[in-house]
């Protein structure tokens, strides 16, 4: 076993778009079972930070180390690129992402979505992937919706389905980008419940969220981003109850 490796380490990450710096030196360490929540106002760089972790954005500087394996970069014509896309694909397979807009593949049934990457990326047999996929759909309460298409699901169902799709990869770390922000208020609870269960069973998760109750109850660490920098980080009890910076006080609202 390689238990000794940290699932995800990010070191001194910088990212700019067209010369505008968006992330300025962010670091993070997710150990097994950690739930790290990223909070911050709109435009502070939460999504970009998350997307750098699975290389949907290529950081201009800094390291991403997944399960002890640093992503290799090279510089071509002054621009930084991954040196080995095969490595990137492999690493992405270990970091399942759940999107704000679900992004379920519209032309596949729910179970088709769940088994797609396990079959075609991990090389599982259809039969095995299906068995595992059905068990996951059962877990998120969607066994009876397996043969529905995404367009036939409610937002909450679609997001729980997307979580099942993420789980099917048996990822090292799950990345969530505001998974409940696109949902009607009455559907948020079901999705958060599933996420709480995942946290309870010791999954390693990095979650961008505006759900402060979730952040308070579930996280092992809260990171507050402000203008592309980590303004505060620590235990939720400290960060959310005794905010140090005026920005975080303002962000958390009238209580402070």
């Amino acid at each position: 076993m390689t238990e000794s490796y940290t699932p995800l380490v990010v070191r001194d990450l910088h990212k700019s778009f067209n010369g505008n710096p968006v992330l300025e030196g962010l670091s993070l360490e997710a150990h097994v079972g950690d739930v790290i929540t990223l909070i911050g106002s709109s435009g502070s760089g939460k999504s970009t930070f998350l997307r750098c972790m699975n290389l949907l954005e290529i950081p201009n500087e800094g390291d991403v180390i997944v399960h002890g394996e640093p992503v290799k970069f090279c510089v071509k014509r002054g621009e930084r690129h991954p040196a080995d896309w095969k490595q990137v694909e492999r690493i992405r397979g270990k970091l399942s992402m759940v999107f704000q807009g679900f992004n379920l593949w519209a032309h596949m049934t729910l179970i088709g979505n769940v088994i797609e990457a396990p079959v075609h990326v991990l090389g599982l047999s259809k039969k095995e992937a299906r068995e595992r996929g059905m068990a996951l759909l059962e877990r998120v309460g969607l066994a009876d919706r397996a043969d529905y298409f995404p367009a036939q699901l409610s937002g909450g169902q679609a997001q729980r389905g997307a979580i099942a799709r993420a789980l099917a990869m048996e990822p090292e770390v799950m990345l969530f980008d505001e998974p409940t922000s696109a949902l009607d208020p009455e559907l948020v609870g079901d999705v958060l419940k599933v996420m709480r269960e995942l946290a309870d069973e010791g999954r390693t998760m990095v979650v961008v969220t505006h759900e402060m109750d979730f952040a308070r109850d579930v996280s092992s660490q809260v990171i507050y981003l402000h203008k592309g920098q980590i303004a505060e980080a620590g235990k939720p009890g400290d960060i959310l109850e005794k905010p140090g910076t005026p920005q975080l006080k303002q962000f958390l609202g009238p209580r402070f």
Binding site: R92, S96, F99, W105, A106, H107, H120, V121, F149
Partner: protein, 236 residues
């Protein structure tokens, strides 16, 4: 009572077969070229984008008839220049006659590839980028993501336009008679001139085109259903 075609019946059928073959082969070439050119246009590589843009713009801006003559006669001259060189160098005496059928397929394929390119390009752009992103996020390679996600989602948007291009291509096959191919229009023309009975020959020709489009409509309807899966959700 069998209709008397004055002995042109079998040739008319041969012409119809040639039209169908020409159309189908040109379609396959046009789809392949269109897909390639659209991918080039949407690629990150500057030179590829420029090349594909020149191709689709230049071809679509010139009449089919002119292009066909240009490619056929120009092509023959090009081939001749090449064989002359080889002959001069090797002391041989080769001559390659450009096959009009192949020339027809290539010309129509190249021309309609430019139209297909635009249809594909628009359809690729209409695909929700989040779906592609999800494919990448789950470790799919470019090719796998293309095959499993980008292409099937794109086809739904492309089908109406592709079908339209196909109809125009089918009718443009009649132009090949100018480069010496005896398609069904050319046979009907010859027969009409000989017998002075235009309706006798031109109505069957019209029906021949209709037969081809009818068969293709069935195929298109099948493709529509296939690529509409998951979108047209009232039925499931």
């Amino acid at each position: 009572m069998p209709i008397n075609f004055y002995g042109y019946g079998p040739r008319l059928l041969e012409g119809a077969l040639l039209t169908a073959e020409l159309a189908v082969l040109s379609l396959i070439l046009a789809l392949a070229l269109g897909l390639l050119a659209a991918s080039a246009k949407l690629s990150r590589s500057g030179p590829l984008r420029v090349l594909a843009t020149i191709y689709s713009t230049a071809i679509r801006g010139v009449p089919e008839l002119v292009l066909m003559m240009l490619l056929f006669y120009g092509g023959q001259i090009g081939v001749n220049m090449l064989t002359d060189r080889i002959n001069a160098w090797a002391g041989t005496d080769y001559f390659i006659n450009l096959n009009p059928f192949a020339a027809g397929v290539i010309t129509l394929g190249v021309i309609y590839g430019a139209y297909m390119c635009e249809t594909f390009r628009g359809a690729f752009l209409a695909v929700d980028s989040g779906q592609i992103e999800a494919a990448k996020a789950y470790g799919m390679s470019e090719w796998l993501a293309f095959r499993r996600v980008r292409f099937p989602l794109m086809m739904r948007h492309a089908l109406p336009g592709l079908n339209n291009n196909w109809m125009v291509l089918l009718k443009a096959t009649a132009l090949v008679s100018i480069i010496g191919l005896t398609d069904m229009v050319r046979i009907a023309d010859q027969a009409t001139k000989a017998t002075h009975l235009p309706f006798l020959f031109l109505i069957p020709v019209g029906l021949g085109y209709l037969a081809i489009t009818t068969v293709s409509e069935i195929g298109v309807a099948w493709l529509r259903r296939r690529y509409d899966t998951g979108f047209n959700t009232d039925g499931a």
